[in-house]
């Protein structure tokens, strides 16, 4: 696969219209979930349409990451309805949900230290009919090509983040769950990740994002859901003005 000529991700997506223009990729309805006795989500409802980039905003502990984990099915207790690509996933194990074409990039990145970078990259089973060729993956993340032989945890934080995104792209996921992809990274890396996310959106990927950096999120997001104490308290469209960004930041208490 390495020998294939590099082509921009856009052409890759153009040849691959996944679902209809307004098809719903994710539909969450009245979702209750938590850890043990600790109920975190109290009836969350939200949706993400094909090709959309939707961002969850809210303070720390509001339940944004818990929503991501619930969608992925890695919380043992969840009630309500979570439909992915039109299929109900309550009761499905995470591996089945992943195989619907969902790529999970967790906050802690989930890089395996006992695996090399190459093994990490090739670990996920193929979850879509059009996995991203390695040449394209390396075009998006040139740093990874040189680090293939390194152990997973010898990478810098930014490289781990790139690897975590790269491996779900390589697996063919078309619906990405990105949980704080820029957290704790140097500004120059944040910019690189930001450009990558913008390119993926252009290429037709559907993205559910959790992001604290509002100036970055405002430039790429189609819609926002504001989460407070396990509820959706507001839904906003595209943020056109600095005033709208300021309004959102007020929610976050920044």
């Amino acid at each position: 696969m390495l020998e294939r000529p590099a082509s921009p991700p856009a052409s890759h997506a153009a040849s691959h219209p996944t679902t209809g223009p307004a098809a719903t990729v994710l539909a969450v309805h009245e979702l209750y979930a938590g850890y043990g006795d600790d109920q975190v989500l109290h009836g969350v409802s939200l949706d993400v349409k094909a090709g959309e980039l939707v961002t969850l905003v809210g303070r720390n502990g509001a339940g944004k990451s818990t929503i991501m984990r619930s969608v992925m099915g890695i919380l043992p207790r969840r009630r309500g309805s979570v439909q992915v690509m039109g299929q109900e996933t309550i009761g499905l194990p995470p591996e089945k949900i992943a195989r619907l074409g969902v790529g999970y990039v967790p906050e802690e990145r989930g890089i395996f230290s006992r695996l090399s970078v190459e093994e990490n990259l090739k670990l996920p089973v193929l979850v879509g009919d059009k996995p991203m060729p390695l040449a394209e993956v390396f075009e998006l993340f040139p740093n990874l090509r040189e680090r293939l032989g390194s152990a997973g945890t010898q990478l810098s934080g930014g490289e781990q983040q790139m690897l975590s995104i790269a491996r779900v792209l390589r697996a063919g996921a078309r619906f990405l769950l990105l949980d704080e992809p820029t957290e704790g990274l140097a500004p120059v890396i944040v910019q690189q990740i930001g450009r990558t996310i913008a390119r993926l959106k252009e290429a037709g990927y559907t993205i559910l994002l959790v992001e604290q950096n509002m100036h970055f999120a405002a430039t790429v997001s189609d819609r926002f859901f504001v989460i407070e104490e396990g509820h959706v308290v507001n839904q906003l469209g595209r943020l056109g003005s600095a005033q709208a960004v300021a309004e959102l930041e007020r929610y976050l208490g920044i």
Binding site: A98, L115, A171
Partner: protein, 294 residues
């Protein structure tokens, strides 16, 4: 030639016996280590699968007329399937509970299977001949080494190497390492970890059965053979470090050799030296010689 007033022949003889015992320790502790690493259970039934491998070879020979070489493949396969069934039917239901439950479960399985074999075959043991190809022996300097025992040492080294290669260098091995490190994340990447657990348990106990087939021409088939060995093997795993593959291999052979040498110097202590070693290691380095402390 004498060393410490003991004839060199005795030294070499005991070193060879130590190597052979060490071969079995290494082969059994690898399976235990892999199962402990991924499934997070101390598999007390490991010895019984070793015993079933030995009896498997004996039964295939006596009832079906199959020789040693086909048994070397068929007995571990059959025992591995039994193991996978036990994992699916029973073990998989107690993973979410405290360690004690899986320990009691595998211990109970051991008692039941061992009793069935004792009822059927008694306690005196069944003899089993080494295959014609490996009968006889080789004179190595001062000592006479049965060919079959040389084969055991070689086969064990080969098996350890193959297991290591499989875990560290193959795709399924990378699943296994990933799931051992973070099962949830591995599942989120689309890998069917519950099925991986079944396969791993089946392969782990299959390895124990393979050791049993290798052992049967040396020790015969005896219902208690597994339990007797397992106590030492658990000490080996503790010394080497729970979950460490490489540690299990090295420690297995090391403990065999130390036992052998103790037999020459102070025969009465040879049965306890392993446990003394275990206590020292636990006091000095609780994670084991090759274990990573968390």
């Amino acid at each position: 030639m004498n060393i410490l007033d003991i004839p060199a022949q005795a030294w070499v003889g005991q070193i060879m016996i130590g190597l052979i015992n060490g071969s079995f320790y290494a082969m059994l502790s690898i399976g235990l280590a892999v199962i402990f690493g991924l499934l997070n259970i101390a598999n007390f039934a490991h010895g019984v699968f070793y015993m079933m491998g030995a009896f498997g070879a004996w039964m295939l020979g006596n009832h079906l007329g199959l020789g040693y070489w086909p048994s070397l493949l068929l007995a571990p396969l059959a025992v591995g399937i039994v193991g996978a069934l036990i994992e699916r039917l029973f073990l998989s239901r107690v993973y979410h509970l405290d360690h004690t439950y899986s320990m009691l479960l595998t211990f109970g399985v051991t008692l039941m299977i061992e009793s069935l074999y004792r009822n059927a075959y008694g306690t005196s043991g069944m003899p089993y001949d080494a295959p014609a190809l490996l009968q006889g022996g080789t004179r190595m300097g001062a000592i006479f080494m049965p060919n079959y025992r040389l084969w055991v040492v070689l086969a064990s080294l080969l098996m350890c190497l193959l297991t290591w290669f499989f875990i560290e260098r193959t795709r399924l091995g990378s699943y296994l390492r990933a799931a051992t490190e973070n099962a949830t994340m591995t599942r989120a990447l689309g890998i069917n970890v519950p099925r991986l657990l079944t396969i791993t348990y089946g392969c782990g106990v299959g390895l124990a059965a393979l050791s049993g087939v290798l052992a049967v021409p040396v020790y015969g088939a005896n219902p208690a053979m597994g339990s007797d060995l397992l106590i030492v093997v658990f000490a080996v795993v503790v010394i080497g470090g729970m979950g460490s593959i490489f540690g299990s291999i090295v420690t297995g052979f090391l403990v065999g050799l130390i036992e052998g040498l103790t037999k020459v110097l102070w025969p009465e202590a040879s049965n306890t030296v392993v446990f003394v070693l275990m206590i020292i290691v636990l006091l000095a380095k609780p994670a084991g010689l090759f274990g990573e402390s968390h």
